[in-house]
């Protein structure tokens, strides 16, 4: 988020110029991390609002949520959790390798993280298309005619399901775009033991996306 004007000093080693209004790179690094942590608070509060709504309605209409959860395949959810945990690890490793100046491993880990993200979206797409195919859609679009449809207001569960997983998937896609941006810069050799701020900032965002899925998985999938 800081102005990264790029210049290559003589030894080909990339040297990041600190923005004019910061004293030194250290102050800029701290400010950037502080800014990202504040942004993570806004994300927690946004998703938190949705979780509060979910828990309140779960307490008021337990049978809707228990019937709804039966349609979800917890095995797919569990695999997605494992996939995201691994992507979280490889993201953290990419920062570790940047700190020890091993530029090749930074790239490897970023690619693995990106791959995990694609796998996650793939599994997500399988689940969504299965629901859309069966007509288990939110609100007015709901046209499922199985026995469970007798439960009053069942579409509300799928309103929450598509709302929460949709919002989370959109954040996964934003995370993937940021990782591609990191990969491009890593190829240019921007990251090393003197400068890895963007890596850490995108890493923090990615870990938060994983954190939200850690809460989402039990609340949505494991209440059957």
């Amino acid at each position: 988020m800081s102005t990264a004007n790029v210049s290559h000093s003589s030894s080909g080693e990339y040297h990041h110029h600190t923005a004019h209004h910061f004293e030194n790179a250290e102050a800029e690094y701290n400010a950037s991390k502080f800014g990202v942590w504040l942004f993570l608070c806004t994300e927690i509060l946004m998703f938190g609002g949705l979780f509060v709504g979910y828990i309140i309605y779960h307490q008021r209409y337990p049978e809707i949520f228990h019937t709804g959860a039966k349609f979800l395949d917890w095995r797919l959810g569990a695999t997605n959790t494992v996939v995201l945990l691994i992507s979280s690890l490889t993201m953290a490793l990419s920062i570790y390798y940047a700190q020890v100046n091993n530029k090749k491993m930074v790239l490897v880990n970023l690619y693995v993280t990106l791959a995990c993200a694609f796998v996650f979206l793939g599994i997500k797409w399988i689940e969504w298309s299965h629901k859309i195919h069966e007509g288990l859609l939110p609100g007015r679009l709901f046209h499922y005619d199985g026995p469970e449809a007798a439960v009053k207001d069942l579409p509300m569960y799928f309103g929450f399901y598509f709302g929460m997983t949709g919002l989370h998937a959109s954040h996964v896609i934003c995370g993937m775009a940021l990782i591609v941006w990191l990969i491009v810069r890593a190829h240019k050799g921007h990251f090393g033991k003197n400068y890895w701020t963007p890596l850490e900032c995108v890493g923090l965002f990615w870990h938060l996306v994983d954190l939200i899925w850690i809460y989402l998985f039990p609340l949505l999938y494991l209440i059957g």
């Binding site: 988020m1 942004f39 806004t42 939110p138």
Partner: protein, 528 residues
């Protein structure tokens, strides 16, 4: 450091529209916010005049009920989301926060520019709803009415969602700037009180606005897919929407008033030429108000079907949030004891703020008393209360801040006589408009009424006449400001003899604010 060429400053350093639209200088972004907020205030003001013209006497006067509902909604939405929330923090805060703490810029200049574009894009989306059947839900978008009504509402809700990001990013920027970019020697208790007020506002903006974001997003899903979370026909609970909405919207009213209190603290210190009485008390009450503001939103829902237990608890906590506000008022009055007071128009507006905000505050306590609130809830008593606090509070402070900082922002002096004319017109017009509305509310006239019973006629006519006086006052103020920016005569660097950092540099200030990094040794208001 700034280029030492004396006649180079942030205004003429680069020229051309693109240099403005892609600027990363917090001062230029502040000026761009000023232009945007003044324009939106003009639109909101026109809608206000239309409302009051319609209510001059009972029955349709210049529009039918559907048009009245749309004008009422747009007046509320524009004034809240586009004038009063970005008003002081984004315009004066962006310009003066970095200067008052001796920094060269805000922590994230690019983010600062993005937040300005969020406001503009959001505003365009809101205005686009006019050409798509309009919106008539009131600025609160209560469900299930907002779900079923005309489809301009989706655009206004999406617009407000985008404007929310402008508020979040500004708050995020200010918290990071205050924590990380203070000048050497400037500890937290040497910061001016304007910075304290903006810091507590920024915390509110960061922590409260995201919940509005998710609420408006759910409302858009509700309208497009009918997910039924807030729709009683599909199992939802409309009162839960009110809980979600007001969880943001009450901290939002403190986002509106805290910066105004910051401006008034600055004006008090400068024009009484002494430190503000009880600096630590005023600073901590800003933080106190920000903290307690998250616990009181239920007083907007005393009669909404909320349970009695919750109502009583919210009434009790609302009384607690009244105490730090009262402390601030008493501290300002105590500042004037044994002071050396100069009656320039910024100070007149500060006194106007004190007068009107006191009435706004005490009527707030009356409304917090749940036994009485049941009678006057959703009546003109509430309309009068929040106009006394928002127009009498925040707008008086915006005008006071404008006149106070114009010499610093543009290096030119405003016309003192005409500025005082605007004060008299606005102050008198305001009381004539909104004081009768207290009485209308006690007599039981509900709010958002297009047509009213004959017994409310005389007071409504008086109120409309007062509204025209405020209108003229603000219009003259617009000319005073425009005249000052383009044709005002040169102003000295520190016309008021103020001690805060932004007055210790040239006006208009150079690109990097200071020629050499200021080192702070004493408090912000050392006059001896």
């Amino acid at each position: 450091m700034a280029s030492s060429d004396p006649n180079k400053n942030y205004l003429n350093e680069k020229s051309g529209l693109m240099s403005w639209l892609t600027t990363l200088d917090h001062k230029r972004i502040g000026v761009m916010y000023m232009i945007a907020v003044m324009f939106f205030f003009l639109c909101g003001g026109i809608f206000a005049m239309l409302l009051r013209t319609e209510l001059i006497h009972a029955g349709p006067t210049i529009m039918n009920s559907q048009q009245y509902n749309q004008v009422m909604t747009l007046h509320g939405a524009i004034m809240v989301f586009m004038v009063i929330i970005p008003g002081i923090p984004a315009f004066m805060g962006n310009f003066f926060l970095p200067m008052q703490i001796g920094a060269k810029d805000v922590a994230f200049p690019k983010l600062n520019l993005i937040s300005w574009y969020c406001l503009i894009i959001g505003a365009i989306v809101v205005v686009a709803s006019l050409f798509y059947h309009g919106v008539d839900t009131g600025w609160t978008f209560y469900t299930p009415y907002s779900i079923k009504t005309m489809n301009g509402t989706t655009l206004v809700v999406a617009g407000a969602f985008i404007i929310g990001f402008s508020s979040i990013l500004t708050g995020l920027n200010f918290v990071a700037t205050v924590h990380k970019l203070r000048a050497p020697g400037m500890s937290f208790f040497r910061m001016p009180l304007f910075v304290w007020a903006l810091y507590s506002t920024a915390i509110l903006q960061v922590l409260a606005t995201p919940v509005l974001g998710i609420t408006l997003l759910l409302l858009v899903f509700e309208r497009t897919m009918g997910i039924g979370i807030f729709d009683p026909e599909m199992g939802g609970d409309p009162v839960l929407f009110q809980h979600f909405f007001w969880f943001y919207s009450h901290p939002a009213v403190y986002i509106m008033i805290l910066p105004a209190m910051g401006v008034v603290s600055e004006l008090m210190a400068t024009f009484c030429r002494k430190p503000v009485f009880g600096y630590k008390a005023v600073a901590f009450s800003s933080i106190g108000i920000a903290a307690v503001s998250f616990f009181v939103w239920g007083h907007h829902m005393f009669v909404s079907g909320q349970s009695e237990v919750a109502g009583i608890l919210f009434s009790f906590i609302t009384m607690l949030v009244g105490v730090p506000t009262a402390i601030k008022c008493f501290n300002w009055v105590a500042t004037m004891y044994k002071a050396s007071i100069r009656f320039d128009s910024p100070f007149l507006f500060a006194l106007g703020f004190l007068f009107l905000f006191t009435i706004g505050g005490v009527t707030g306590i009356m409304l917090a008393t749940i036994g009485f609130d049941v009678h006057v809830h959703d009546t003109y008593f509430v309309v009068a209360h929040f106009h006394y606090v928002m127009v009498g509070g925040t707008l008086m402070a915006i005008m006071g801040g404008f006149y106070y900082w114009l010499p610093k922002m543009f290096g030119r002096m405003y016309n003192e006589f005409w500025a005082r004319v605007t004060f008299v017109l606005i102050f008198v017009g305001f009381n004539v408009t909104f004081f009768p509305q207290f009485i209308l509310g006690t007599m039981g006239m509900p709010r958002r009424y297009f047509d009213y019973l004959p017994e409310y006629q005389p007071l409504n006519t008086i109120s409309s006449i007062g509204a025209y006086t405020i209108g003229t006052g603000f219009l003259i103020a617009l000319f005073v400001i425009l005249h000052c920016i383009f044709k005002g005569e040169k102003a000295p660097d520190n016309p008021w003899g103020a001690r805060t950092l932004e007055w210790q540099t040239k006006s208009p200030p150079p690109h990097e604010n200071f020629y050499q990094q200021p080192v702070v040794t004493g408090g912000p208001y050392e006059y001896r």
